[in-house]
Point group: C2
Chain length 119, copies 2
């Protein structure tokens, strides 16, 4: 039995270059939560190198700083998102959630199988 599914994705670009999609949203959220690139990478099952690379790719195209390193303190320093990055992250997350909802609603309106299944 063949079934039709709606798929979609939404992402942000800066000057035509990919900036934020669902994967990077997750990474930024994990950095925000843990205050550490290392902990964020571990949480997502990524290598530190890969997480660091993605953050730096984002930083290279972003119109404003997206993170900063903190030094010292009990944790021995870490990484924080800038307020601008947090705001954009929230905007993107809302947008993506709204898209996902729309896909779910529209999926309910599609026949699960083609009309021929009835013949």
């Amino acid at each position: 039995m063949k079934s039709i599914a709606i798929r979609g994705k939404v992402w942000l670009e800066v000057d035509g270059k990919p900036f934020m999609g669902q994967g990077r949203e997750r990474l930024l959220r994990a950095v925000e939560k843990t205050g550490s690139i290392n902990a964020a990478a571990a949480e997502l099952g990524m290598t530190y190198r890969r997480a660091w690379g993605q953050l730096n790719e984002m930083a290279a195209v972003a119109p404003f700083p997206i993170f900063f390193r903190t030094k010292g303190g009990t944790g021995g320093g870490g990484t924080q998102l800038t307020p601008e990055a947090k705001e954009l992250l929230d905007q993107y997350a809302q947008l993506r959630a709204s898209f996902d909802e729309q896909i779910e609603r529209s999926s309910a309106a599609l026949p699960p199988t083609g009309p021929q299944e009835n013949t």
Copy 2:
């Protein structure tokens, strides 16, 4: 001056395989309009071979027939979409248009440039 843009796409899959996206929507619409794969390909600046290939890829995964050849008549035969294909095409077109509108609306809410431009 860097500007942030929202990009998105939506497509249909059948059993996890790509079935219809914006390119194939255009092709089906052109076949519907012209009644001919050849004329549709010409209208879209595609080779006949490519148009035919895409239609056959769709036909291979579709849960119902998507087109049929007509023989004879004044035009010497041609290609027509099935009613099921037309209906699904309309559903997809509406969905895509609704996504595009949402992207446009959300784009208006994003700052055209980052906050740092103001400093």
